[in-house]
Symmetry: C3
Subunit: 158 residues, 3 copies
Amino acid sequence: MTSRYVLREGRPGRVVVARLKPGSDLLLSLQEIAVKEGMEAGVILSGVGLLDEARLRNCRSLPKEYPITDENRTFLSFNRPLEILALSGDICMAEGEPIVHAHLTLSSVDDDTIDVIGGHLIEGCVVFGFAEIILMELEGIDMVKNMDEETRTLQIFA
Amino acid sequence: MTSRYVLREGRPGRVVVARLKPGSDLLLSLQEIAVKEGMEAGVILSGVGLLDEARLRNCRSLPKEYPITDENRTFLSFNRPLEILALSGDICMAEGEPIVHAHLTLSSVDDDTIDVIGGHLIEGCVVFGFAEIILMELEGIDMVKNMDEETRTLQIFA
Amino acid sequence: MTSRYVLREGRPGRVVVARLKPGSDLLLSLQEIAVKEGMEAGVILSGVGLLDEARLRNCRSLPKEYPITDENRTFLSFNRPLEILALSGDICMAEGEPIVHAHLTLSSVDDDTIDVIGGHLIEGCVVFGFAEIILMELEGIDMVKNMDEETRTLQIFA
């Protein structure tokens, strides 16, 4: 089994706690927070709350050659109450701007069955009531995305 | 798309690592830890382990007007081995007491199929063997829940 | 309801951000990072990315007496694109070596249906493209696993 990686070290910095209000788009709010707070490197520590709409991106096929493109992806929309079970990811710099990269896990109920869905966070996930988001800035580390030759995409530490 | 939020900053504080023993109720243990350790603001960094019973709350319908009440919710119980895949959330103060707000993701197997469920953590999630929980206190931030006029519920930074 | 636990305190230490490259085994990479970086206590803050193979362990039955063994477990393999939705867990010392204990949540799509699976992270989860992993070392705490009489397994703070 292979084990190849690039690695850098940083230090924990300030923690930003945000409550998103009704109607807010989850990704756009995170993006706006990262930009306005000037967070150039960070990690999502926690995200909980409720959505009444969601849109998620998943990968349905793998390309023979990198990069993965939208031809490999499925975009699905949901209109129902969805609990935010987990929000994972980080904040990096790409092309001079902070960019939030996050994956989302959501639950809903249909009669007595719980259905859990998830995927890459894109625009279209809308808060109902509230969402509590906790981010931690990372200090002493450059989390900048540059073109990576191997995967032919923007990657940290490339 | 809307992006409305309230935001405050804090600093990382002490980290509390707890191993819950067999038969412990997950939420009640978290609550007891928060109270005994005097954690007035915190974030759940990680939770893994195994349950042999779970009870979860999900939202099945949205009210025409806030607040969401139990009329909008479904409470479901499960009696089987369930791995704790993720535990997300935070610790705030509400009505003078630390309160843990957490969402839980769980997996089980039936023959060769993995079933993932999740929802809002309530009483009735019982540890089998062990659960390892890691909390981080937040310093320099008031995470107090007060009545929010818009959602007609207790909210942080209201 | 019972609430029994053992608890210790530590402090946030350095943060390690790693990008795993194509073909890397997720668990083995985490293990190698923990060993090479000399992390004796830590927490997984975040994990996102894509796999093209996964292998997961779940618990299908409970023993009448501890410990849980492989007789109680189901090991399942998956060959398809799988988004890493969440990676939870910690790094402890067991028998003189750092050991990563993690649980994984994954999503895939089949036509227009999202399927979410998860379980205990074992060898056989292979990165496609990249995975971004963020670990935080914990200082001032001994997270050493010793034999626990009650569960008859290695446990922290036993």
